[in-house]
């Protein structure tokens, strides 16, 4: 299988301060604007990024501040691939963490983070090791719009 080459990519490292949530999703949204997404497609990706970054802040680095690595790549066929990585506490049971409404974040958390990421993107993959960290990768295809000339 030939691996497609990204036509553009970005990398961002931010500390897990909650004030960076808005910056993280806006940065990825600005990058993906090259794919000419609809408002809805852009909102989907922004929401998925917001959930992934919030998980790093609320769960991975619960009582500490650590780095969050965000990487995004876009491809000629209109796909955007995004990775959000932390080196926090890790997830002991990924299947349980992905269940809707499951949360260890307290009564003000909805437990919908992974359900939203899954629903708002086309592919979601979660890799985690306790004590080492978690990497979430997501992919979404942005519909190509045809140009009418003349």
């Amino acid at each position: 299988m030939i691996k497609a080459k990204a036509k553009n990519e970005m990398k961002l490292v931010i500390p897990s301060n909650s004030s960076n949530e808005s910056f993280a999703r806006s940065a990825v949204a600005a990058f993906m604007a090259q794919l000419d997404p609809t408002i809805e497609e852009m909102t989907d990706v922004k929401t998925a990024i917001s959930e992934a970054v919030t998980n790093c802040i609320v769960h991975a680095y619960r009582d500490t501040i650590g780095n969050i690595w965000i990487e995004a790549k876009i491809y000629d066929d209109g796909r955007i691939w995004i990775s959000v990585k932390d080196k926090g506490c890790g997830i002991p049971d990924i299947a349980r963490a992905r269940e809707p409404l499951f949360t260890t974040g307290g009564s003000e958390r909805a437990g919908l983070g992974f359900a939203v990421m899954e629903s708002f993107t086309d592919k979601l993959r979660v890799r985690s090791a306790v004590g080492k960290g978690t990497t979430v990768t997501m992919e979404k295809r942005i519909a190509q719009r045809y140009r009418h000339d003349g």
Binding site: S18, S19, E21, S22, R25, I39, E40, T43, K46, T47, S50, E51, T54, I57, V58, S107, E108, R109, A110, L112, G113, A115, V116, S119
Partner: protein, 100 residues
């Protein structure tokens, strides 16, 4: 973010504006709870007309206010949610709570 409050008869209307994420949800929550505690209305209306972005922290915000209101015998209504935010609310199954 900002919350503007209007008192209409026995209802407290909270007009929310800005973006709701984990960071801003804390500020929204504190602002709403403070006004709610002071007025103890029979109906709390959360107006999402001015919200441009919301992740699942907004669902936590609604569910938290729903529980708090229910403890005091207060009803809660969610109104004017833009379509993209309504989609998040549907995904969370908020329809089952009778808040619309």
């Amino acid at each position: 973010m900002s919350v503007v409050f209007e008192k209409k008869d026995d209802a407290l209307v909270a007009l929310l504006s800005g973006e709701i994420d984990h960071h801003t949800a804390t500020e929204f929550r504190e602002s709403i709870d403070c006004e709610f505690e002071m007025l103890r209305p029979a109906l709390l209306v959360l107006d999402f007309g001015g919200i441009g972005f919301m992740d699942s922290s907004g669902i936590g915000l609604i569910m938290g206010r729903y529980r708090k209101a229910a403890e005091c015998g207060c009803r809660i209504r969610v109104v004017n949610a833009p379509p993209m935010i309504e989609r998040m609310m549907k995904l969370a199954g908020l329809g089952r709570l009778d808040v619309f």
